[in-house]
Amino acid sequence: MIHTIPLLPEIQLRCFRDTRFKQEGLSIQFVRPMRKEEAALNALLPAVLLRGCETAPDLRDITLRLDDLYGASLGAQVRRVGDYQTTGLGCSFMREDYALAGDKVFAPMVAFLEELMFRPKLENGIFSEDFVAGEKRNLLAAIAAQRNNKRAYAHAQMLKKMCSGDSFGIPRLGEKEDVEVITPQGLYAHYQTVLKESPILLFYVGAADPQEIADLLRPIFAKLDRAPVALPPQSPFRDCGKGDVVEKMDVAQGKLCMGFTTPITLRDKDFVPLQILNTIFGGGMISKLFMTVREKLSLCYDISSTCYGNKGIITVSAGIDCDKDTAVRQEIMRQLAACQAGDFTEEELSAAKQALLAQLQSTHDSPGAIAGYYTTAALSGLPLTPDAYAQAIEKATAEDVAKAAKSLELHTVYFLRGEK
């Protein structure tokens, strides 16, 4: 059961009380607008905070504290939800019931999180130069390493091209040139702005009473000097023109990515049929794309489609032989045309619905999935509880799905191919 507790203006706590797990999880997210000017700053900030605080001034001190708390884990969380970027810290830790008698885990974990978040180690009143330089190197390496995973790289390149006029085209971790210019002063000033202005989302999952969590967290956030600025609502895809791209690289296998647009977003009532359509089209192992392009025609090893409900974008991505792009592309369009014509069986429809229902039902079986569902729903304005969502899936008809398919329009094709 989810409890939403407004702690302070623009600071909301969500608690999912659950006694089935051996762990508890707590996260603090600052919500920012996704903007080129600050994407890299937001990505860098939690990494620098995790380098040291007043009471644990280096990485080793931090790990030792976490080890004492039965190997609690703590990580930077930088996410994109539609037009927003969230930046913050998340931790998960063992329930005290499994600890040696007398050992505390929960209260010291919250205290440690507070120290890391609000009392970072400073030098001359700003972030440590070494920490910032070190984490810039890490972030630059992470950005550069995106090339290593060719599928993800191709997909990101396609979205960047397709969304050149939309916040969705800004890479989640920012761009190399934006990271390079960050200074300790600049990052510290940004941190102050984030603390002061950003809406804050807190999420707890675990066995404790939500009211106790609220009472524990409220005084921590009441200390902040706040002048919160509400964010503009999420917006649909903003088109800045079409155009296809071919990029060459020294690879054995080509990657073909296609981006489709639709006016339907997850805030619309037609969104559920769109999701069912995505599942029938390319969402699973019996999708049309998988069954024809891979199984029947052996044109690729992997192929799938993904639905981005915040923007009304569906992408298709396939690993193929470098000389098969035309054939694969034609087959993808043929399968979409079949969906648009309502050319799918009752079994395909029912299987897609069952797959989505199973996914929805098992959301509540993992602490991570619980936090993910409710946080994303809150930020993107998804008007459905899991129950209402499930009902909408069951009610959707073949006509609804075909109608959603007809709303799709091919926008951008990107092909990563070998040099030979």
Binding site: D58, D67, M94, Y98, G134, D250, G284, A358
Partner: protein
């Protein structure tokens, strides 16, 4: 079924062995929607030499994985579609020393279980379907060739080992899979998918009795031929080649270091060695170590750095990997730190903290259906009762960890594999 409660982790496990040797584990989880079921054979990519009913077999590399793909075929039926109709998503993976088939679902557990057992125990291969799979697996091999992490591990394994088949990629090569025929697939299925070489494991809100009944009904009559597979390899602890490198389309040099160590024994002793290996890795270069902090501050390693103790049937290694502009310097620093630790020892305080941390992380890990089901299977195959791990942690001493570091982390046992970025075109 035999029922056992493990108070340290608060779990109850049911187990039984059918008359034909099939082993069954069920971990009931009331109040959860998800149900997960693994059907596992003690047969992986390294088991290419065996005798069956007196005849010797030497099968092509990559066959275990090929067989995994082909088992999804059934005469006039589409297994994936049937699972989908039942709201389940089936999948499978092939490792070096095991192959697993599994599904997860929220509804129709019994029907899904029947389907899983049926398709895995129904070999059906035609010349045509076997030939067609070459294209699909050829693509998968291509994908692996572009994946620097796989290439790096394969480089390392090949350089380290003289005889252990870990030198060969799980997928095999385009040449080796070209030799695969329906007859060879049948032979491997008969040899390794016999009930007494398999394990069925289910996790979720499930009645254990029901799993046993269905397994009995469907698998009772499958014959068990007499099979002996090669499971040990003559291997010197000195590496074959100490350094190996290749260039690829990567952003920054990537490295993996391996230190050869002895294969694990079965049972408690094996898990004890695994826990010792893991704690040795943590003490030496884990995030709580002094070395990690120093290398990180000097910029020799970054957040991508990590390591641990890897075990596969017939071998084990301590390993560390990450991105670095100077992998050789990282390797040297690890060797020096190992020598220093072997000399000064690990403090009692550090040792207890590491133990507590490792134990807490394992207990948290039980929340995950997938990792728990996998671990129950993998440890069961090595004849260890997984939920007993808190006892093993209790018994491990710091002297054992120091000795492990002293024995294993030495120059002659070390191999360094490096992938460097392709040179920019002039």
């Amino acid at each position: 079924m035999e029922k056992q409660f493990y108070p340290e982790v608060g779990e109850t496990l049911y187990r039984t062995t059918l008359e034909n040797g099939l082993q069954i584990l069920v971990l009931p989880r009331s109040g959860f929607s998800k149900k997960l079921c693994y059907f596992v054979t003690d047969f992986g990519a390294i088991h290419t030499k065996f005798t069956m009913d007196g005849a010797d077999y030497n099968v092509p590399a990559g066959i275990a994985h090929y067989l995994e793909h082909k088992l999804f075929d059934m005469p006039d039926r589409d297994v994936t579609e049937e699972f989908a109709t039942l709201g389940a998503s089936p999948n499978a993976f092939t490792g070096y020393d095991m192959t697993a088939y599994y599904f997860s679902c929220t509804e129709h557990f019994q029907e899904n279980l029947r389907l899983l057992l049926e398709f895995v125990s129904t070999p059906y291969f035609t010349e045509q379907s076997v030939a067609k799979e070459q294209g699909i697996i050829g693509q998968e091999i291509g994908m692996n060739e572009d994946n620097p992490d796989s290439v790096l591990f394969e480089l390392l394994a090949d350089a380290m080992y003289e005889n252990h088949p870990i030198q060969t990629p799980i997928l095999g090569s385009r040449e080796s899979i070209a030799q695969i025929t329906p007859e060879v697939l049948h032979a491997c299925h008969k040899a390794f998918y016999r009930p007494d070489n398999m394990l069925l494991c289910a996790v979720g809100d499930i009645d254990p009795k029901e799993v046993e009944t269905i397994a009995k009904e469907l698998l009772q009559d499958i014959p068990c031929p007499k099979v002996t597979a090669q499971r040990q390899w003559e291997e010197d602890l000195t590496v074959k080649t100490p350094y190996v490198t290749r260039s690829m389309e990567v952003a920054m040099p990537m490295f993996q270091l391996g230190f050869k160590s002895l294969p694990l024994p079965d049972g408690d002793a094996g898990v004890r060695q695994e826990i010792i290996g893991d704690m040795a890795a943590e003490a030496l270069f884990g995030e709580s170590s002094r070395l990690y902090l120093r290398l990180y501050n000097e910029g020799l390693i970054d957040a991508s750095f990590g390591g641990g103790y890897e075990t596969i049937e017939g071998m084990s290694m301590l390993s560390a990997s990450g991105d670095s502009e100077d992998p050789q310097a990282v390797a040297n620093a690890i060797l020096q730190e190992a020598a220093a630790l072997a000399e000064t020892g690990i403090s009692q305080e550090d040792f207890l903290r590491m133990k507590r941390s490792a134990l807490g992380r394992r207990i948290r890990g039980i929340d995950s259906f997938d990792s728990t089901c996998f671990r129950l299977c993998a440890y069961h195959l090595s004849k260890f009762d997984y939920f007993r791990f808190p006892h093993i942690y209790e018994e491990v001493t710091k002297e054992e960890i120091q000795q492990f570091i002293k024995d294993v982390v030495t120059e002659k046992r070390m191999c360094l594999a490096v992938i460097t970025p392709n040179k920019e075109e002039a």
